[in-house]
């Protein structure tokens, strides 16, 4: 069977598809999330060093994964958008951004909640925490830049460039903070957890990770539909206004 992929590159034909896909992905995500939580609360063994409190990693680690992965997805769709001048790619990238920002916020807060009982501190300026925080800043910058322009095309392309520059910058930031930590190694806290992890723990994290992944796709589809509607309405309003102006002349 041959599928014409280009058919779905136009917002008009993509919107009904996205509307159909969104509830499916969201329900798959719900099932995965519940089974992931079941594994993490009832199947995974109690950690012999950290007790029960370690179980927050079943949210924390997948959220951190997703926050980084989604930024790469955004960069990818922006490259596609800039190369092929496809509006839908930009819309998709922009629809992912709020979800990515929320995941990095979740990763930061759950990390703080985990850090306090385990290491006695809410926050340290180590490489992972600092890069995650900067990642959140980049997400927010990307979203703010989209709202700064009246011309939609300009907003799409300008924010795409910013997202790309940010994606180059993330590894540099990570490296620079690692470097600075190795230089001033005082009584710092090592955040590397227990060396041998039970396999069930990894399964739990993977299930929750897949749930988050599916959720991101579903919610991005919903946002794309919403964006397409908004843009269409503004075009209709403009043509109506123009029609009125022409009638007056």
């Amino acid at each position: 069977m041959k599928i014409n992929w280009y058919k779905y590159s136009s917002p008009k034909t993509f919107a009904p598809l996205a509307e159909k896909l969104a509830p499916r992905f969201l329900s798959v995500s719900l099932i995965l999330f519940i089974s992931g939580l079941y594994v993490s609360f009832f199947v995974a063994p109690t950690d012999f060093q950290q007790g029960e409190a370690y179980r927050i990693i079943f949210i924390h680690v997948p959220a951190a994964w997703m926050s980084m992965f989604l930024y790469l997805v955004i960069a990818f769709w922006n490259i596609v958008g800039l190369a092929l001048k496809s509006r839908l790619s930009f819309m998709f990238a922009q629809s992912i951004a709020p979800t990515g920002a929320i995941f990095s916020l979740i990763a930061l807060t759950t990390g703080a909640l985990w850090g306090k009982p385990m290491w006695g501190t809410w926050w340290v300026w180590d490489a992972r925490l600092t890069s995650e925080l900067i990642l959140l800043f980049l997400y927010i910058g990307y979203m703010l830049l989209q709202t700064a322009f009246e011309n939609q095309q300009r907003a799409d392309r300008t924010s795409a460039i910013f997202a790309l520059i940010g994606s180059i910058n993330i590894p540099v930031i990570y490296f620079s903070v690692v470097w600075w930590n190795t230089l001033h190694q005082g009584a710092s806290i090592s955040l590397t957890h227990a060396p041998s992890m039970a396999l069930t723990m990894i399964y739990g994290m993977l299930l929750v990770g897949l749930a988050f992944w599916s959720y991101s796709i579903g919610i991005a589809c919903l946002r794309v539909c919403y964006r397409i509607q908004i843009r269409e309405q503004s075009i209709i309003r403009l043509t109506q206004a123009k029609g009125k102006a022409d009638a007056l002349e």
Binding site: L144, T158, I165, I173, W180
Partner: protein, 224 residues
């Protein structure tokens, strides 16, 4: 026409315009000194603590001052349409942009570096520390101006753009700030600053090669 003639003409024009606005240069230096003073005052006269934060405080002050100077980089040319002439000029836009950024650095960051030794003395720094602070600023501030130029080009034509530029470029400034302030701090705490300075130089070289091109792309998008 020979592209070098155009590049030279642009360089002279930028210098002339900057000298015409020399009050701006002085205001910026004054602003830098004021932020540094605020740091000093907020330490409540604790000389020892002040000395230990001196490199970081001066780096952050310089970063703020440089960021505030970016607003003028492209906006004036944008309002009087000179920038369209640059786009049409028979020389690569990235080279023209590089010249504009260089003059911007020369007239905003360089005066700050000249004022730094005096602030260093006020903060109780020794000669060696001031030396490595100056080296780190010389190697680091061009990168800050380059990165800032991207922010200025991306936000060209938006309302209230100076806050937006800040929000966009602060995360991008982090690596330069880390290497810059740690070069100056290393000398203060008796380590070698060499490694951090090499990193700063590497960032600067990468920036010089790539950023003018990125700025040119952003400007083309802004003017479409």
């Amino acid at each position: 026409m020979n592209p070098w003639v155009i590049l030279k003409a642009l360089f002279l024009r930028e210098i002339k315009l900057a000298l015409h606005r020399r009050a701006n240069i002085l205001t910026l230096g004054y602003f830098y000194i004021m932020i540094a003073t605020l740091f000093a005052v907020s330490m409540n006269g604790d000389a020892k603590a002040l000395q230990s934060i001196a490199p970081s405080a001066l780096w952050v002050s310089a970063l703020f001052a440089i960021m505030l100077s970016l607003n003028h980089l492209f906006t004036d040319d944008f309002t009087d349409k000179t920038i369209e002439q640059l786009l049409l000029a028979p020389a690569p836009l990235s080279m023209l942009v590089a010249i504009k950024i260089f003059v911007q650095w020369l007239t905003s960051a360089f005066p700050l570096i000249l004022a730094t030794p005096f602030l260093g003395i006020q903060f109780g720094m020794g000669a060696a520390e001031i030396g490595s602070l100056l080296t780190s600023l010389l190697l680091g501030t061009p990168t800050l101006t380059l990165i800032g130029a991207i922010g200025a080009a991306l936000t060209l034509g938006t309302k209230g753009s100076s806050i937006l530029i800040a929000v966009l470029i602060f995360p991008l400034y982090i690596p330069t700030l880390i290497f810059g302030s740690s070069a100056a701090n290393a000398t203060l705490f008796g380590h070698s600053a060499e490694e951090a300075l090499v990193m700063l130089a590497a960032l600067l070289i990468i920036g010089i090669i790539t950023i003018p091109y990125a700025v040119a792309v952003s400007l083309r998008i802004a003017l479409e």
